[in-house]
């Protein structure tokens, strides 16, 4: 084989391959042709090489076959040169072109994805996810700037071993991220361990080596920073433009999301996005337009949501199959759902309302859907989740789409339970008022009748009296006594009626409770059927209270009527009276009073008992357990009022089916109190015709005083002035037992007339009445002279006169 020929062939092949490579890199047709020429030359060398060997053996070669083989070889060589003969290092221009093309596509996708929503959370998560996918860093950090702080919004990828416990807040100007924000330029570091700018030990300790901090710039401001970290020495800076474009998109989306957030929060200073998005990213224009539309839609949605949420009614909407699709909070609460979202997919049968209620609601839904009618203000009763039955006004209207097709039902339930109850209460109140007015009218009628009744009693009594005097028969006397007794009782009854109709004043007097009780029980029996047995248990102690007799009887009457009505089948009515000398622990004495002993009057029945539901309200007016028309509901109210007026206490103990005991604790009064209270003028009728000389200038006053003294049994001589007094005194000196003289009596000329009398007869007692404040002591004697200061009551005068004329009798009565 010819070595030179072989070498020439190889050289031509090499040249061919170089040409191909050059052509591949430049894409120049001339180079392609040169490569083909080189390939043909190489082919020719090969042919020469093959032909030389065959000539030597005198065997002629098959020329077409050789040409075909050589052509194929040349083509193979050409293909080989194209495919495998490329130079080892790619051309920088081609590489950049390829990278740009790929990255542009990625940026486009990224912008579309990141800007798909205005929610900040979405922007953060989407940005991190895409950055991880595109850059494949070992750690991505996204910070938001707030003043001089950088707040970590998110990290990725999930589960990154470099994702250490980052301090959530960085400072502007600190570490790489802070520097990038401060200077508004990207900061790259291939090895943070050798980089003085990196001041966060956590990053170094986490094993991060390389780092890129890309500021998120917006309209000249830096609103955040994107941090990319690598666990090895990565040159992020090499992809600087791409990364910066990426940061620009994130910044735009980030800004829109922040605007949206501010708009939602209603923060002042919210600026509408404009076209100057900065960073030269074309997609931002689209985002801005969409953001504006989105915001308008969002504002409308917010308004609608606000209306639905705050309307004081339950709002819901269903599809045509009566399946709930949404509701507001009011509806969710009524249905016992923890949030409105939970209503979707439910039907009325999944709600707390009863089956019948659900049936009714669905029937109405079907009417709305099938007939397209609106059902407005239909009153419904719905059982709510809390178990209460509520009355609602239900309105349902069909929901239509743009073509008028019915999509479902929109409903509103307005709770009118409270209004209904108020209306009922008002109606009840009106009825009660009406009842009270009737009662008042009845009371007035009764009062009027009692008035006439007492007049008639007077006639009866007077007639009987005359009869008694006319006929001296013993039997007639007895009959008269009976008539008198009956008239007295009838007068008492009439007085009760008069007191009840507020026509007689309340008059408290010392009252022996036992006789009052015994007497009351006598006439109370008349009210009771024979099936009710009455028992009375009283001790022997004296039980005296300060009370109005009629009112005490009123209390007994009301309680007995209640007990009677509680025992329609009969039973036992028990009265028990006892004196409790110790103080009651549970019942302190009324303030300012020193009543220690109490009288306990218990009235027990064996009736049905008071139902528990009204037990706490029995003293309220118009509360009654009796059928309509049988009880006014005022009986116990009156009892309580009377009890209160007397400083007493009332306790009710009732057991259903066993009976009721009403215990009244009256404050007792002490014997000395009784004595004082009983010193009424009528009880001082102790005079036996003793002569009293009364001198008073005022005629009417004098006559009234004389009348009082005369009614007490004294004989009175009246003097209008001093002269008359002296005259009367002189003529009756021996008989005069007492002088009652007005100190301000017109004085006659001459010596002091009073002095004259006192000097002449110092032992005759005298009462000097005076309006002068200088008279220091009422009822205090100076010798036998006692001063009584005006104004004074007739009872005081009576007591004083009694004391002076009959000192012994007076002492006896006081002891």
């Amino acid at each position: 084989m010819n070595i030179l020929l072989v070498a020439s062939c190889l050289a031509r092949i090499a040249a061919t391959m170089w040409c191909v490579a050059l052509w591949r890199s430049r894409r120049d047709a001339r180079l392609g042709l040169l490569a083909i020429l080189a390939a043909l030359l190489a082919l020719q060398s090969g042919v020469s090489l093959v032909g030389g060997e065959g000539a030597d053996e005198a065997t002629p070669p098959d020329v077409p076959a050789v040409i075909l083989a050589l052509t194929i070889s040349a083509l193979l060589l050409f293909g080989l040169a194209i495919v495998g003969g490329a130079p080892k290092g790619p051309e920088p221009g081609e590489k950049a072109w390829l990278v740009t093309s790929k990255e542009s596509k990625a940026l486009h996708c990224f912008a579309r994805e990141v800007g798909a929503s205005l929610a900040l959370d979405h922007v953060v998560r989407s940005a991190i996810r895409h950055v991880v996918a595109l850059i494949e860093p070992d750690l991505v950090l996204l910070f938001r700037r707030k003043d001089d702080r950088l707040i970590l919004m998110g990290t990725g990828p999930e589960g990154s071993r470099f994702n250490h416990n980052h301090t959530p807040v960085h400072r502007v100007g600190e570490c790489l991220c802070g520097l990038a924000v401060r200077d508004a330029v990207p900061v790259y570091s291939r090895d943070i361990h050798d980089d003085d700018r990196c001041t966060w030990a956590e990053c170094k300790e986490a094993g991060i080596q390389s780092f890129a901090a890309l500021p998120l710039r917006n309209e000249g401001d830096v609103i955040g920073v994107l941090g990319l970290a690598g666990g090895s020495e990565r040159d992020f800076e090499r992809r600087g433009p791409f990364l910066e474009a990426l940061a620009g998109i994130i910044a735009a989306a980030f800004r829109n999301a922040l605007h949206h957030e501010q708009a939602q929060a209603g923060e002042p200073g919210f600026r509408e996005p404009n076209d100057s998005m900065g960073n030269g990213v074309g997609v931002c224009d689209d985002i801005a337009g969409r953001v504006e539309a989105e915001q308008r839609r969002h504002q409308q949605e917010t308004l609608l949501r606000c209306i639905i949420s705050n309307i004081p009614s339950a709002v819901f909407w269903k599809n045509t199959e009566s399946v709930y699709e949404g509701c507001n909070w009011a509806f969710a609460r009524a249905a016992g759902l923890s949030s409105p979202d939970q209503v979707a997919g439910r039907t009325d049968y999944d709600m707390p309302w009863t089956h019948e209620q659900a049936d009714r609601l669905r029937n109405r839904d079907h009417r709305v859907v099938n007939e397209g009618v609106s059902l407005i203000h239909v009153e419904e009763t719905l059982r709510h989740a809390d178990g209460t039955e509520r009355i609602v006004l239900s309105s349902k209207v069909p929901l239509h789409d743009a073509h008028g097709r019915i999509l479902g039902v929109l409903g509103i339930h307005t709770d009118i339970t409270d209004r209904k109850e108020a209306e009922e209460a008002r109606a009840k109140l009106n009825e009660q008022l009406h009842q009270a007015q009737k009662l008042e009218a009845v009371g007035q009628l009764a009062g009027g009748m009692a008035h006439d009744f007492t007049s008639l009693l007077q006639v009866i009594l007077s007639g009987a009296e005359k009869l008694r005097d006319y006929v001296g028969d013993e039997a007639i006397h007895d009959a008269y006594a009976m008539i008198e007794q009956a008239c007295a009782e009838a007068t008492g009854l009439a007085r009760s009626l008069l007191t009840f109709s507020h026509r007689l004043p309340v008059e408290k007097e010392p009252l022996q409770l036992r006789p009052v009780l015994e007497e009351s029980i006598r006439w109370i029996r008349r009210l009771l059927p024979g099936t009710i047995e009455v028992t009375l248990e009283t001790g022997h102690d004296s039980v005296t209270i300060l009370a109005d007799r009629t009112q005490v009887q009123q209390v007994l009457l009301n309680l007995v009527i209640n007990a009677r009505d509680a025992m329609p089948e009969g039973g036992t009515l028990r009265f028990a009276l006892e004196r409790l000398d110790g103080p009651l622990d549970t019942m302190p004495s009324p303030a300012g009073q020193s009543f220690t002993p109490w009288a306990r009057l218990a009235i027990s029945d064996t009736g049905s008992g008071i139902p528990p539901e009204v037990r706490d309200r029995i003293f309220e007016p118009f509360v009654t357990t009796k059928p309509r028309g049988e009880g006014s509901g005022l009986g116990l109210t009156i009892v309580r009022e009377i009890i209160r007026q007397h400083g007493a206490r009332i306790e009710v103990d009732s057991h259903k089916g066993e009976g009721t005991t009403v215990a009244i604790h009256w404050p007792c009064i002490e014997p000395e109190t009784i004595l004082q209270e009983s010193k009424a003028p009528s009880e001082h009728a102790s005079g036996r015709g003793e002569l009293i000389l009364l001198a008073e200038a005022h005629r009417y006053v004098r006559e009234i005083m004389a009348s009082t003294l005369q009614s007490l049994g004294y004989f009175v001589l009246q003097a209008a002035d001093a002269a008359q007094l002296l005259e009367l005194y002189r003529t009756n000196r021996e008989r005069v037992r007492l002088l009652v003289v007005d100190a301000d009596l017109p004085r006659p000329p001459g010596p002091d007339w009073l002095q004259q009398i006192r000097t002449a007869d110092p032992l005759t007692p005298a009462i000097i009445t005076t309006a002068s404040p200088e008279a220091e002591h009422d009822g205090v004697s100076e010798g036998h002279t006692v001063f009584l200061r005006k104004p004074f009551q007739m009872s005081e005068l009576g007591r004083l006169v009694c004391r002076l004329i009959n000192p012994r009798q007076s002492e006896d009565s006081e002891t």
């Binding site: 008042e440 007035q444 009628l445 009062g447 009027g448 008035h451 006439d452 007492t454 007049s455 008639l456 007077q458 006639v459 009594l461 007077s462 007639g463 009296e465 005359k466 007068t491 008069l498 109709s501 507020h502 026509r503 007689l504 004043p505 009424a680 003028p681 009528s682 005022h698 009417y700 006053v701 006559e703 009234i704 005083m705 004389a706 009348s707 009082t708 005369q710 009614s711 009175v716 009246q718 301000d744 009445t769 309006a771 005006k790 104004p791 004074f792 009551q793 007739m794 009872s795 005068l797």
Partner: protein
């Protein structure tokens, strides 16, 4: 023997009136010179008959008895008036004292008491039933009712009080004007004034108020 005490009996209940008249007339020292069914009639009869004593019910239809007595005190100063009533209302007592009545007898008193009261009254000694007497207090200015509670009624003038009583009886302003011998305009003026003072602008409520206050009987 001195002349019997001449008495005029005034009560709107005919049976009471006649029974009372019969009882009094049966007394040797008394003679009933006439009877009347209301204060108007009583006034006319008293002026005509000049009785020593008028025994008068307090609450009667027509002219108020206290108004009649005021006139009587001028026209017949020698006649003494004794009130006879089933009630011992503060307001009645107060007004009885104001006209210096010679007695206030409640109807639960015995006949003997009434008779003696009449005899004493002629002698210048009035009689007050215990329930009334216990409420009388004496001071420098005369006899008054003790410790009466103050109510809105105290803001009314005597004229207004009188009009109120008539209104409470259901009388029309014209009737009131005729009874009080006033013009209807004056009655209207008093009515407006008292309604303002009491802050009651309804006649029914006014009547109820008057009854509650004991100014009139139902």
């Amino acid at each position: 023997m001195s002349a019997p005490i001449s008495i005029l009996v005034v009560d709107d209940h005919a049976i009471v009136r006649s029974c009372l008249a019969k009882t009094l007339d049966d007394q040797p020292d008394m003679t009933v010179v006439g009877t009347a069914g209301d204060a108007d009639e009583a006034l006319a009869e008293a002026i005509r008959l000049r009785p020593a004593i008028i025994l008068m019910d307090i609450d009667m239809p027509g002219l108020l008895c206290f108004s009649a007595v005021e006139t009587l005190r001028v026209r017949c100063p020698e006649t003494r008036v004794m009130f006879l009533s089933a009630f011992a209302h503060d307001r009645f007592i107060e007004q009885a004292l104001a006209v210096e009545a010679s007695g206030y007898i409640t109807k639960d008193e015995k006949t003997e008491t009434v008779l003696n009261a009449i005899r004493n009254a002629v002698a210048g000694i009035p009689y007050f039933s215990p329930a009334v007497r216990s409420r009388i207090v004496v001071d420098s200015f005369g006899a008054h009712l003790a410790q009466r509670r103050q109510t809105r009624v105290d803001t009314l003038t005597p004229r207004e009080l009188e009009v109120l009583r008539y209104l409470a009886r259901g009388m029309s302003k014209k009737e009131i004007a005729a009874t009080m011998v006033l013009s209807v305009k004056t009655v209207e003026y008093h009515t407006a004034s008292l309604m303002n003072k009491l802050d009651i602008h309804d006649r029914v409520e006014l009547a109820r108020f008057a009854i509650r206050e004991g100014l009139t009987e139902p």
